[in-house]
């Protein structure tokens, strides 16, 4: 399988006044297309910084980031916006849906920034919502949806531009365990059936167990990177 992500000697240093705070201290990683990776670590371990860099939201202080072979670290802000739009789908802990905006329109949002026209946009948004099992709730606004449903809308939004990569930052952090299971099952389904590459940040071991590969961060370094023997096939897919 082809290589999707390669980072080499990735450093990130934040400046808090005069104090330099290193968040990443030299990360080398490669992620292959179709992988389901859990990035773990306690808060302050650098995993969020790592995700922000992978998501083209933040620049590394030093080091290289290749996405599908392209060195994206040196691109302009507008080119980053284009990559975020086309090649990356984000799922957040707090869902981050637009309030007072229907599920359908929330899913259409990324397509507003890449020139899709009304009909096609609508059609693709409906498809994405069907895929996450919310085909019946197209015109519900977030305040009329449960947390799990809101996260499904967010996943549909992440999928709708058919990205090569989904970055999920603590996607189950605001959900109860049953709903968390459902969301994780959905991710597994996307990974298995669509071959979607998923990188998931979590600090819960029982969430990370759904992934093929577990990477553990500590103090800005990768301290463990292992394949999960409990392969996704062994977990029952309820989605």
């Amino acid at each position: 399988m082809s290589e999707l992500i390669r980072v080499e000697n990735l450093h990130k240093i934040y400046h808090m006044g005069d104090v330099e705070v290193p968040a990443l201290r030299g990360i080398d990683l490669a992620i292959t297309r179709g992988e389901f990776v859990a990035v773990m670590g306690s808060s302050g371990s650098g995993k969020s910084t790592f995700m922000n860099i992978l998501g083209c939201l933040d620049r590394p202080t030093q080091g290289k980031y290749l996405l599908e072979g392209d060195d994206v670290g040196s691109l302009s802000a507008d080119e980053w916006a284009y990559i975020r739009n086309k090649r990356i789908g984000f799922v957040f802990q707090g869902f981050n849906l637009l309030s007072r905006t229907t599920a359908l329109e929330n899913v259409e949002l990324p397509m507003m920034y890449n020139g899709f026209h009304g009909k096609e946009r609508h059609q693709r948004a409906v498809e994405a919502l069907n895929l996450v099992g919310l085909g019946q709730r197209l015109d519900h606004t977030p305040n009329r949806l449960s947390g799990g449903q809101q996260q499904r809308v967010a996943i549909a939004r992440a999928l709708v531009n058919r990205p090569s990569l989904i970055l999920a930052d603590e996607p189950t952090g605001n959900l109860d365990s049953t709903t968390s299971g459902e969301i994780m099952a959905l991710f597994q389904k996307l990974n298995l059936e669509q071959g979607m590459t998923i990188i998931l940040v979590t600090h819960e071991a029982d969430i990370a167990v759904h992934a093929h590969r577990q990477i553990l961060f500590k103090d800005g370094l990768v301290i463990s990177d292992k394949n999960n023997k409990q392969a996704p096939e062994t977990i029952k897919c309820s989605g």
Binding site: N52, G55, L57, D58, A77, D78, A81, Y82, R84, N85, K86, F90, F92, N96, L97, L98, R100, L109, P110, M112, Y113, N114, G115, R157, N161
Partner: protein
């Protein structure tokens, strides 16, 4: 991102906070409304003044006899008797810039018709007087050349005189007496209304200037000559040519003063117009200030809105909005508010100037140019005052914006 979609996003964002959007627009509404109404009042005043001046006759010059000094005593204007009807005829004949000239003699007289009498201004004039003053007839005819030659005892009366002496009867061919001399009424002038100074122009009787000279005043000279220049551009030229001609005709030497005086009515017109223009500019600028205040209101609310919607901006950036897209979104929102306010303001301004016209009888005049300018200006206010908040939104860091609570 397509324009239509940006517009839709902006409209929806505004619709979410209708009261706030309306209150923000109110500044622009009042500003534009005030500009439209104020300029309408100013323009109305200007056109009224213009009409009043036009009623005096356009491109008109008045030649008055000059002052005369005898033994160090300087008498006022009109005290020399050098101005004669031959001067008037010479002007028309010899000066290309002059189209008409008419002698004028004026004196208050008491008119008697039947058992009624009325004091009015008698004017001795030539047939050209009608063209010079652009004065239409309501009935009958004006004085003609034959009346001048024979010093005929005919009269053309103004509308006020006709009403006072004849009421609803037809005055044509009726006889009126001036100093016991019978005059036959041959025409009635159509009403011209008051002058800017409040003199009733229709309270007059016109008779041949020759009759006035011979039978009423027993003089051979003229009190004045009114002259019409060919067009407005040549008024100045006519003035200079008349001066030269009269100096020559009156044999005035190089070192001596004119024995006459040429007055230009367009000077008066210009002064009056300038006053009206100053007023319009003054009213307009006061109104523009309120438009400016409205713009600041928009900026204020847009800044609040950007802060409130930081998270939304972060989400949009995360899913692929470029800085430019965010900037446009907020800019369009500001412009939509300003332009909508502008439209409502235009309606309000036109409405209130119509109300003033209807109820207060103010002569307001809506100029389409001002309406267009006010609308464009309100749009420009939106761009100008929306720019900074939009720039601020566009420059947000997506990570910070997504974290914003």
């Amino acid at each position: 991102m397509q324009w239509l979609m940006i517009l839709r996003i902006a409209l929806r964002a505004l619709a979410r906070n209708k009261l706030r959007a309306f209150l923000t627009m109110l500044g622009i509404i009042i500003g534009v409304g005030a500009v439209i109404a104020m300029v309408a009042i100013g323009e109305g005043a200007k056109s009224t003044i213009r009409a009043q001046i036009a009623s005096l006759g356009t491109n008109v010059l008045v030649v008055l006899p000059g002052s005369n000094s005898q033994g160090g005593v300087r008498l006022g204007l009109g005290n020399v008797n050098t101005l004669v009807d031959a001067d008037a005829r010479a002007m028309v004949r010899e000066l290309p810039s002059v189209s008409f000239a008419s002698p004028v003699l004026r004196r208050p007289e008491q008119l008697v018709a039947g058992n009624l009498n009325w004091g009015t201004l008698a004017q001795g004039v030539a047939p050209e007087f009608q063209q010079i003053r652009d004065w239409q007839l309501a009935d009958g005819r004006f004085l003609h050349e034959g009346d001048m030659e024979s010093a005929a005892k005919v009269a053309v009366i103004g509308e006020t005189v006709a009403r006072q002496l004849f009421g609803n009867d037809n005055p044509i061919d009726a006889v009126i007496r001036i100093r016991n001399i019978p005059f036959r009424v041959v025409g009635v002038l159509s009403p011209k209304g008051q002058t800017g100074q409040g003199t009733d122009q229709d309270d007059t009787v016109m008779i041949p200037y020759t009759t006035m000279q011979k039978r009423l005043m027993r003089i051979t000279w003229l009190q004045s000559i009114v002259v019409k220049a060919v067009n407005a551009e040549r008024v100045q030229e006519a003035q200079e040519q008349i001066t030269l001609l009269l100096r020559q005709r009156h044999r005035i030497g190089q070192d001596r003063e004119d024995d006459f005086n040429v007055r230009n009515l367009s000077d008066i017109a210009e002064a009056a117009q300038t006053t009206a223009r100053v007023m319009a500019v003054l009213l307009g600028s006061v109104a523009s200030i309120s438009l400016l205040v409205g713009g600041i209101g928009i900026m204020n609310i847009m800044l609040v809105s950007v802060t409130e919607r930081t998270r939304e901006i972060g989400i949009r950036m995360a899913v692929g909005a470029r800085s430019r897209d965010i900037m446009l979104q907020f800019l369009v929102e500001a412009v939509v508010m300003a332009a909508t306010g502008g439209l409502i303001g235009i309606i309000l301004g036109i409405g209130s100037s119509e109300v003033l016209k209807e109820w207060a009888q103010w002569p307001t005049l809506i100029s389409p140019a001002i309406v267009a300018i006010a609308f464009l200006f309100s749009g420009a206010v939106g761009v100008f005052f929306g720019f900074y908040p939009a720039k601020k939104a566009a420059n947000l860091d997506p990570i910070e914006a997504l974290r914003y609570e």
